[in-house]
């Protein structure tokens, strides 16, 4: 039986079920097929690069539930009032125009033997290579008292969009002199400097709008990314406003009560007005469903981002366990290009070049006070290994910090163009 993919996608779940036999390159096109799940920094980039570089020789389908994707990176700048929500929202029209088949649906199943992905809407997609870039989900029970049903009372705002807007609305509605609490996550987690940039942006907002308000951060870690830079910035810009409670002062001994709006840190209960709970994280659920995770994350081979569990399934970005790279949008974008090159090579015989990775994370502390940290990486048999790195210095001039912020804006424009076309 000859299958037409478009017809196939349009058929009902019942018909699809009858067709769910293995069908590698079985359709009329005879083109190799790649399915990418997740349209963020990893998935959108991989889909775009495979489609662009293969010049139509590979059939690329991107599965992403949201029609407008809000980047997690720069969402803190929205909280601080430096960006609008529309500034960080992106649609998939350019990817579709560039030849990527964009399907707005949830991937709910992966059949590795049949090499098919099933969607919540009932359709089934066949693949020769499957790229998973599902981002993060939260570990159940990570913060006692909190679960996803409490995300309206105590937002995580760690997947950008409505959660970020909710947190901003709660921040704006805080009573004068109120308390903003953040429960910071344990390692490893998405965007290592993210919680601390968020603290900075919340402080920036409060300083202008509610200057007697306080910020409490309960942190299970003894130290955090760019710590010296943030602490210097907090002392310079927001003196007396931020109380960071690290591991040694019981920052990891935390529970919350979303109904009562209380936070208990090391046995001491505090009534708070806003509580941003950022729980421990794990790979987005589809990675688990596909059976390519080991514990919370999906171990991958550094050379091409293929999973240790299945050579035809690749995992990019936050969901992957790859070695030294931080979980960041920049990292995911970098990994996606290595993966795209390898996938295209495997399917079309195009030349595969050695993997190279890089990352830079910019953070904004206050107006025109930007800092950055970055590194380059290489693939070793064991992992993605750091080669060289740099970090902004404390005490830098305001000109340098302003240029760093402007550079971050340039990077944002660059990476979103690289992802979405």
């Amino acid at each position: 039986m000859k299958l037409n993919r478009r017809l196939f996608l349009g058929t009902s779940a019942a018909v699809a079920a009858t067709l769910s036999a293995p069908m590698v390159r079985a359709d009329g096109h005879g083109k190799p097929r790649v399915v990418v799940i997740g349209g963020g920094a990893g998935g959108a980039t991989a889909a775009r690069y495979i489609a662009k570089d293969s010049k139509g020789a590979v059939d690329v389908t991107l599965v992403e539930p949201t029609r407008t994707y809000y980047t997690c990176f720069f969402s803190n700048l929205y909280l601080g009032g430096f960006k609008s929500i529309d500034d960080i929202g992106h649609t998939y029209g350019n990817l579709a125009a560039a030849g990527v088949n964009v399907v707005h649906d949830w991937a709910v199943g992966v059949d590795r033997d049949a090499k098919t992905v099933s969607l919540a809407g009932g359709a089934t997609l066949s693949y020769d290579k499957l790229v998973l870039s599902p981002g993060i989900d939260f570990v159940d029970g990570a913060v006692p008292g909190w679960d996803l049903s409490a995300q309206n009372a105590m937002p995580h705002a760690y997947k950008a969009g409505s959660q970020t807007e909710l947190l901003k609305a709660q921040l704006a509605a805080m009573p004068e002199g109120g308390t903003f609490a953040m429960i910071a996550p344990p390692n490893p987690y998405r965007c290592p400097p993210g919680p601390y940039e968020r603290v900075s942006m919340v402080a920036h907002f409060l300083k202008a709008n509610n200057p007697t308000a306080k910020i409490i951060v309960a942190d299970p870690k003894p130290k955090f990314s760019k710590m010296a830079l943030f602490q210097e910035g907090w002392a310079n810009h927001y003196e007396g406003m931020i109380d960071w409670i690290g591991e040694e002062f019981g920052g990891g001994e935390v529970s919350v009560d979303p109904a009562a709006m209380t936070v208990t840190i090391d046995g001491e209960e505090t009534k708070v007005d806003v509580c941003n709970v950022i729980p421990a994280m794990k790979a987005g659920r589809i990675a688990d469903i596909a059976g390519v995770t080991d514990g919370n994350w999906a171990p991958v081979n550094a050379a091409d981002m293929s999973t240790k569990a299945d050579a035809d399934i690749y995992v990019l970005g936050d969901a992957s366990q790859q070695g030294d790279m931080p979980k960041s949008g920049f990292s995911a974008n970098s990994q996606a290009k290595v993966c795209a090159n390898a996938v295209r090579g495997a399917l079309t015989g195009s030349k595969v070049f050695p993997a190279r990775f890089s990352n830079t994370c910019w953070s904004l502390i206050d107006t025109n006070d930007g800092v950055k940290v970055g590194a380059t990486y290489e693939a070793t048999p064991e992992k993605i290994a750091k080669v060289d790195g740099f970090i902004s210095k404390t005490g830098e001039s305001s000109d340098v910090r302003k240029a760093t912020y402007e550079e971050s804006e340039g990077w944002y424009a660059g990476i979103t163009a690289d992802m979405f076309g």
């Binding site: 920049f330 080669v387 790195g389 660059g414």
Partner: protein, 237 residues
């Protein structure tokens, strides 16, 4: 007031330009030469000036837009040129105020010089390099491209553009492939020699930027040549 001062202080330029200057609404070329520092990383002007990221600016006044030989212009600017755009004081004022208002897809990713007086001063400076070739003053070219100590075989390496295309993924996370420039400079259609010299200058930490020192530090001679070949030949929309 500002104009009076400017006219008084431009005696040298007036002598050089004769009556042309009086007819055109030009400013202070000395101040213009300082303002030009903003332009020089992309535009060469003066004796032996050559094309860099932007075309050289000798003989700018009176020339048709998009007409410098050997320079790859955007389709957008070529369309304007086909419509008859020539560079004169008035058109240059409009272009410099905001290049994209005149050619929306121009490769000149410069946000624009908003102050009328600044533009007048800058144009007065550039006017000196335009009357005819004999009037180009005895000034060093603004290009720093020739000022390097690379072994001659390094710029002579012929890069593999396919490899460059793959490697360029590391660049396009920040530097936009479409060539626009918001906080991060454009690197597309950079002449290969200049590209190679700049990357080696980052590699040897003669250029200061820490991200670029790190990125270039890991590129070998072949890889720099491949990137230069790729970015130098990129076809733009």
């Amino acid at each position: 007031m500002a104009m009076t001062f400017a006219r008084l202080s431009m005696t040298a330029a007036a002598l050089l330009l004769g009556t042309m200057a009086a007819a055109e609404d030009l400013g202070d070329p000395k101040r213009g030469s300082r303002l030009y520092q903003e332009c020089r990383s992309c535009h060469d002007v003066g004796r032996n000036a050559k094309n860099k990221v932007g075309p050289h600016l000798n003989e700018l006044f009176g020339r048709p837009a998009a007409s410098v030989k050997g320079f790859k212009y955007s389709r957008s600017l070529k369309r304007q040129a086909a419509g008859g755009l020539e560079w004169h004081v008035d058109t240059l004022h409009t272009f410099l105020e905001n290049p994209r208002q005149m050619a929306s897809g121009t490769r000149m990713s410069y946000r624009g010089m908003k102050a009328q007086q600044d533009r007048a001063d800058l144009l007065a400076y550039l006017r000196q390099f335009s009357d005819n070739p004999a009037n180009i003053p005895e000034a060093d070219p603004t290009a720093s491209a020739v000022d390097h100590d690379l072994a001659p075989e390094i710029p002579a390496l012929k890069g593999d553009p396919d490899y460059g295309e793959y490697l360029s993924g590391e660049c396009t996370t920040c530097h936009q492939a479409a060539g626009s420039d918001e906080g991060i400079p454009s690197i597309v259609l950079w002449p290969e020699d200049d590209f190679v010299i700049a990357m080696h200058a980052y590699k040897s930490k003669k250029r200061a930027h820490p991200v670029m020192q790190m990125v270039a530090g890991r590129l070998g001679d072949e890889e720099i040549a491949a990137l230069a070949a790729y970015f130098g030949a990129l076809e733009l929309e």
